[in-house]
Symmetry: C2
Subunit: 654 residues, 2 copies
């Protein structure tokens, strides 16, 4: 056996000779970022060899200087003897960047109010699937000596009207002592089904009807967000988010599905989402709000189909293989204790149903909260998450597709990419003379990387200033210290020199990054085009465009159109709706009426499988250009580029 020491965590993991270094780290729960899951494509698993040797190969992600200093890619290295390595996962990634968010901002408030209006404007009521009732039960006597459970059922029948009352063993176990400690005055938490049935999930002494809480949870491939709701008052108490700890097993769903098929893979992915991501978020929220987990009796979650499978520990294998079949689209209610979720163990988790293998419950949630299902106008809904899903329609019909955009919008597979968290560069302007960028950074910290909205800005600015051509290639003729080539002749633009910001490394964007991003934006644009085409429609039918997803609050619609991510239509039609999946979970939690509506329309949505759609590949290839091969599709951008080209920038035609 070989000893592998990981610094600075100082964790020693035993390994077999020939074992992959990233696998050794995973076994030891040492975090090494690996969004491409060992594909050699991202270069983020860089570690430094402090002692000993490994078997490794060269990679363009490691330059000569780094190689000499002992840097290797963990995914590309096999252990052959005892070694000591240094890992560079930031503190932020170790804690998944968990944060409790401020809800007092006007933008957040507006998004919540807008979502709630979907309920009120459609004559639906606010009442959760979980209720609390205070019972003052007659105490037993020798003449009235029915069992505790029969006594509770009798009281509920007489006072609440439910003729069939259920409970499960852990609840039954609590009854005898609790009834007597509470002097037969207790509050039950129960889940009614229909008029006559209900299931008791909790019992507390005294009148605690004013303490009933629920959690709404959006499980993204990259980020997880949650909000804690006071169901008694109908008030939002806390909102929190964190990175999905499954990131270490791959950045996108395909890599995760592959990992799930390995030995213990499914179990590890399930552990990562439940124990390393969701539960820490929940505990932090409960602590901040000073509530006990047993008071949390309602739980609504949404995620893409793969995330839903991994949450439940159900194999997602067949999602990846033709004919792409999920194990379930609508999961049964799941007991919190079965998943070891931090909530009342007897309560049930509701997971929003998915529409298809690659259009999950997060999209169902987004449709609910953004209100397409009730709109007279034609709405285009685009979720710029790790995958990229699109819905088009109105109250009469909805079509949907997924466009395999990958994780680029959330900073994945971009060398200096990161999600829209503290330290992310989120807006950029480039001075056309000096080519020096003006950055704004989330929380005004030192820059750590670029988030989705920043990359859109950056590419749009690089295009306008002629740093890149319409193919996304860097103009190597420009003589500016910010533009440089690596030893493999790959061009890059330096957004932030380490000397400028006193950071450890330069923050750059490479031609490979730009190429990845162009493919992602091309996938979305061609998805929208194909979806409309399948209906015999064109962009001019669109009345409104809702943009959702973790791309960041600073998303510039104008610049998104400039790079050809969105169609070139009237800017006023675009509305950024934020995390519409979380909002949909929130509404589902708050309103049984909304939940029923959502279940109904989710069954009616028509799924278009793009990989089968005849013209999709051509559309995609044409869209992998800035903004598009056919510039006439982007008339306002055509004018802009022509104007800029007069200032001396080079525009390459097709």
């Amino acid at each position: 056996m070989i000893n592998v020491s990981f610094m600075p965590a100082n964790i020693i993991v035993k390994a077999e000779a020939g074992e992959n270094l990233i696998e050794v780290a995973r076994r030891g729960n040492v975090f090494i970022d690996a969004p491409c899951n060992g594909n050699l494509s991202c270069g983020k698993c860089k570690v430094k060899l402090l002692e000993g040797k490994v078997q490794t190969k060269n990679s363009h992600h490691i330059d000569d200087q780094e190689r000499k200093a002992g840097y290797i890619l963990a995914c590309n290295s096999q252990v052959i003897e005892d070694i000591k390595v240094e890992t560079f996962s930031s503190e932020e990634s170790n804690l998944n960047g968990m944060k409790i968010e401020d809800l007092s901002g006007p933008r957040d408030k507006a998004i919540f109010e807008r979502a709630k209006a979907q309920i009120l404007d459609n004559d639906m009521k606010f009442y959760s699937y979980v209720e609390k009732d205070y019972l003052e039960i007659d105490e037993p006597t020798l003449d009235d000596n029915i069992s505790d459970w029969d006594r509770i059922k009798r009281h509920i029948r007489n006072h609440l009207g439910y003729t069939k009352v259920f409970c499960r063993l852990p609840m039954l176990n609590k009854i005898p002592h609790l009834l007597r400690q509470g002097g037969f005055k207790v509050t039950i938490t129960h889940i009614p089904r229909g008029e006559d049935k209900t299931t008791i999930v909790n019992m507390e002494m005294g009148d605690t009807t004013d303490r009933l809480y629920g959690v709404a949870l959006d499980i993204g491939t990259t980020s997880v967000a949650a909000c804690l709701v006071d169901l008694h008052e109908g008030k939002l108490i806390a909102k929190a988010s964190a990175g999905n700890a499954q990131m270490k097993y791959g950045a996108d769903v395909i890599h995760r599905i592959i990992y799930a098929g390995k030995r213990d893979g499914l179990e590890r992915l399930n552990r990562a989402i439940v124990h390393e991501t969701i539960n820490p978020i929940l505990n932090k929220m409960y602590q901040d709000a000073n509530i006990n987990k047993n008071e949390v009796a309602a739980f609504v979650a949404a995620g893409n189909t793969t995330m839903a499978h991994l949450l439940l520990g159900v194999s997602p294998d067949y999602l990846r293989l033709e004919p792409y079949i999920p194990a379930f689209s609508k999961a049964p209610f799941i007991k919190a204790s079965e998943l070891q979720l931090e909530a009342n163990p007897e309560t049930f988790l509701y997971i929003l149903p998915s529409v298809a293998s690659y259009v999950g419950g997060d999209i169902t949630a987004g449709v609910l909260s953004s209100g397409i299902w009730t709109s007279e106008e034609n709405v285009l809904f685009i979720d710029l998450g790790t995958n990229g899903e699109i819905v088009f329609g109105n109250k009469d019909y909805m079509v949907t597709c997924a466009c395999s955009a990958g994780p680029a919008f959330e900073g994945g597979e971009i060398s200096c990419g990161m999600r829209a968290a503290s330290g992310a560069i989120d807006t950029i302007e480039i001075n056309s003379d000096t080519l020096k960028p003006k950055l704004s950074i989330i929380n005004d910290e030192k820059p750590k990387g670029i988030c989705g909205s920043g990359i859109i800005d950056l590419i749009a600015e690089m295009l306008k200033t002629g740093i890149v051509d319409r193919r996304g290639k860097i103009n190597k003729n420009i003589d500016n210290p910010r533009i440089r080539l690596d030893e493999y002749d790959i061009g890059e633009y330096v957004l932030a020199f380490k000397e400028e910001w006193n950071t450890e490394e330069d923050i750059t964007i490479t031609e490979i990054d730009i190429d990845n991003f162009i493919k992602a934006k091309g996938a979305v644009y061609s998805g929208v085009a194909s979806l409309l085409h399948s209906l015999g429609m064109d962009f001019d039918v669109i009345d409104k465009v809702y943009i959702a997803g973790g791309i960041g609050n600073s998303l510039s619609i104008e610049k998104s159109i400039e790079i050809g991510l969105f169609p070139d239509i009237e800017r006023a039609k675009f509305i950024y709706v934020g995390n519409s999946s979380l909002m949909g979970c929130y509404l589902t939690l708050m309103s049984e009426d909304a939940r029923r509506k959502m279940e109904a329309f989710s069954k009616e949505m028509t799924y278009i499988e793009l990989s089968n759609y005849p013209s999709y590949m051509d559309e995609f290839v044409s869209a992998c250009f800035l903004p598009h091969t056919d510039i006439q599709r982007f008339p306002t951008i055509q004018k802009l580029l022509e104007k800029d080209s007069h200032k001396g920038c080079i525009i390459h035609g097709h």
Copy 2:
């Protein structure tokens, strides 16, 4: 810390100074029989001190010779230093005397056939609450790409007609791989509710509809019996029984309830019944029948109310305290995995409902199998178990009571008592001249003790031969080596000298034993009398008497009447129905119709609380005599005793 070594098991348990030796043994899972649970009354926890000293008190259960040899009562001893003790639990008690029973005997067959006739004679059908169905499901294609779970539900809806199909998480987890391994040809095990709903609890590849098994389980305070049923063929496969491993925590329900209130007590009692009693029986049956536990999908159990509480780990505390309230009378269906029962983890356990705190599901089961609920005639049903419950009635009404008889009928609280297992003396005749007994022993082994039917025989014979008087006192004037006094002047009769049988100790019955047994039989007789009295009836209304319980197959009705256990009515009216609780579970398992009938009549039975019944105490005191204070109530016995008395025996009047 003190080291306590238990031999011959060679188990060392750490103990605190001053800790009770029996508690130390329990912590180390060393079996020491303690039916009186440390009350100093039974003397069965005798152990031998091999090394070291303990703090102990004298007891009449240890004679001088034994004391010198190092014998002590474990319940009466506190550890003060390192010791080594020898325990004498026989191999039988270590294994709870588990045995697979022979079902081929005519008596067993007759009992099963008689029970089954209750179903057929009343136009009810045989079908269990669990069913199996073989499905050949359409394989998914790109055009038919609904999820696995939706596909299963669609197939079931189209082919079996259930519109609402449920499953739980562990089942969902199995679906994707299992469907594909089985080529979409699978067998489901499911539990229908009503016409339109069903819950899938298991799925297997291929057609396994011919392998569906169920277990019926009678959980007695002293003994546990089970049978394994082939639900496909409707055939009984195996029957097994064992002692209830809770015995070490007390022989009767009151001692168990008290123990349950101690720290970890409830958990230990639950462990003892599930892991040390039921699961070993089940595994043995499965092994013998060559079936896998996952094929066992139906599970029906009955026990007295306390046993039902302890099985589920629900506190029975309030059963013991006025107003004597159980936590439940009808338990919800419980998942096998929640109890860690050896069966398919997703299947549900059904527990027969109890009527009152001291009339449990075992009596409901007995009423079902013996057929009182359908009888035109007046039936008296007596369960001679650890407690002693009585039902009287016919198809129009039933009244019931419990009579606190204690464990004497199953050999409990009798110094040489044991349950009706191998080595038990079950019938006895005493030669009136030599006073030498003629014994018959179960399985013709060396005698180990006396079971209930043996004790009845013995007391009846001792009465007839004048060894005891009608108060149950031994005639100390008789000069015979079998009649002797201990140092405290307590008389005993030697049933088997160790020299006669080459056993370790003499088998005797003491005046204390006889006194205990008289109280037990008096409780039953006075219970019957009070129950009839409460209806304004007398013994002459009884058309039939069904005797159930673990008293043993060899029960002599004649001798039971001679000692005043049963009323002195026509002998032909008595029928021994064996373990009617197990039979009732068997019928409940086999027939949903029967289960529904049983649930209906269990709610209609009227419970009489004897402790409140005005004349009960007087009745009881009068009945604590052989056969009764008022000999005229037993006219045939009066004649018999008068005849015997002419032969020279002494009859004491009141």
